[in-house]
């Protein structure tokens, strides 16, 4: 911000203070009702889900079981929302004749540290994505971490050269998610049905949990490519 605005960025006016008091009073009035509330045991969803999830889906991580297995349709919607955001940003920021300039004169430390940090970033992201059904994390977190590697490269002065390949991969993986979900209708009897049978003796190993790891790898690639393309659009600048 310019210096004129910089001096007076104080957000204090009598109206704001009044609203703060009103909302604070409301919050403290509602607070005992929330903290003292005990729901009936049979109405709680969380506990029964925690009990059922590992046995039904074959994934020890109950959060992943809920996100990808019980609520796989919601995740498909979430991924499409991300795609919409990336597409809208590309429409607004990436139109016309643009040039992607590399970051001007990357720091010596950044330029050398990228070779040191990059493999670790990539490996951690891949590990978190692939082990989403066993340990905390999954496609979203791992995808963001692996995309962080690419953002580091962009910061260190590199450019996204094969933007079309990136977009193709993104679309391909999104269609594969839908394809796996639809083929569940034929092979398992329901949308997002489990094509790959769950082996109870393989519980807790890497190759278990049916289609959950497959879907999470798709989600990881899709999230990662979308974040790279969003950041690339931010880096573009319109030629004046």
């Amino acid at each position: 911000m310019s210096s004129k605005l910089g001096k007076k960025r104080l957000f204090i006016s009598p109206m704001h203070l009044l609203w703060a008091i009103v909302f604070g009073g409301l919050f403290f009035a509602i607070l005992p009702a929330i903290s003292g509330h005990e729901s009936i045991r049979s109405e709680r969803v969380g506990e029964s889900l925690l009990v059922q999830a590992p046995a039904q889906s074959g994934a020890p991580n109950a959060v992943t079981a809920v996100v990808v297995w019980f609520r796989g349709l919601d995740t498909l919607g979430e991924v499409s929302v991300l795609f919409l955001v990336a597409a809208a940003l590309g429409m607004i920021l990436g139109r016309g004749k643009n040039s992607t300039e590399p970051e001007s004169k990357p720091n010596e430390i950044v330029a050398h540290a990228k070779t040191l940090v990059l493999p670790h970033f990539m490996l951690t992201g891949l590990y978190i994505t692939i082990h989403g059904h066993l340990t905390p994390g999954g496609g979203f977190q791992g995808g963001v971490m692996a995309a962080g590697m690419a953002l580091l490269l962009i910061l260190a002065g590199d450019r996204v050269k094969h933007l079309h390949a990136l977009h193709f991969l993104e679309g391909l993986v999104g269609s594969l998610y839908a394809l796996v979900a639809i083929s569940g209708i034929w092979f398992a009897g329901s949308f997002l049905g489990n094509l790959i049978p769950i082996k109870t003796e393989a519980f807790g190993t890497l190759f278990s949990a049916g289609i959950i790891p497959v879907l999470y790898i798709f989600i990881g690639i899709k999230v990662g490519t979308e974040i790279i393309s969003i950041y690339d659009n931010f880096q573009r600048r319109e030629e004046a």
Binding site: N61, G137, F140, Q141, M145, Y231, F234
Partner: protein, 84 residues
């Protein structure tokens, strides 16, 4: 579950959230905001929600700060160019 450390952390998050909107320099604002993300990450991990903590660390702390900082840099470059 929530210890003295957790309560202290919550207070610091609240203070830095207020500072983020009242501070005069935008870069300070971004850094205070990223501290809110870091504090939330530690709180989620303390409350035994590692999945949420990972998401908050990757998105709330890493990505948002990166996007804000690079946008800030681009816009300040442009304003610098306008003044000259």
């Amino acid at each position: 579950m929530i210890t003295v450390f957790g309560i202290l952390l919550m207070a610091m998050i609240a203070i830095s959230a207020v500072k983020a909107i009242t501070t005069t320099k935008l870069i300070d604002s971004v850094l205070f905001f990223s501290f809110v993300g870091i504090g939330a990450t530690i709180l989620f991990a303390l409350m035994k929600a590692p999945d949420v903590a990972l998401t908050e660390a990757a998105v709330g702390t890493g990505l948002v700060t990166l996007v804000f900082l690079s946008t800030l840099r681009r816009t300040s470059e442009q304003e610098h160019g306008d003044e000259q």
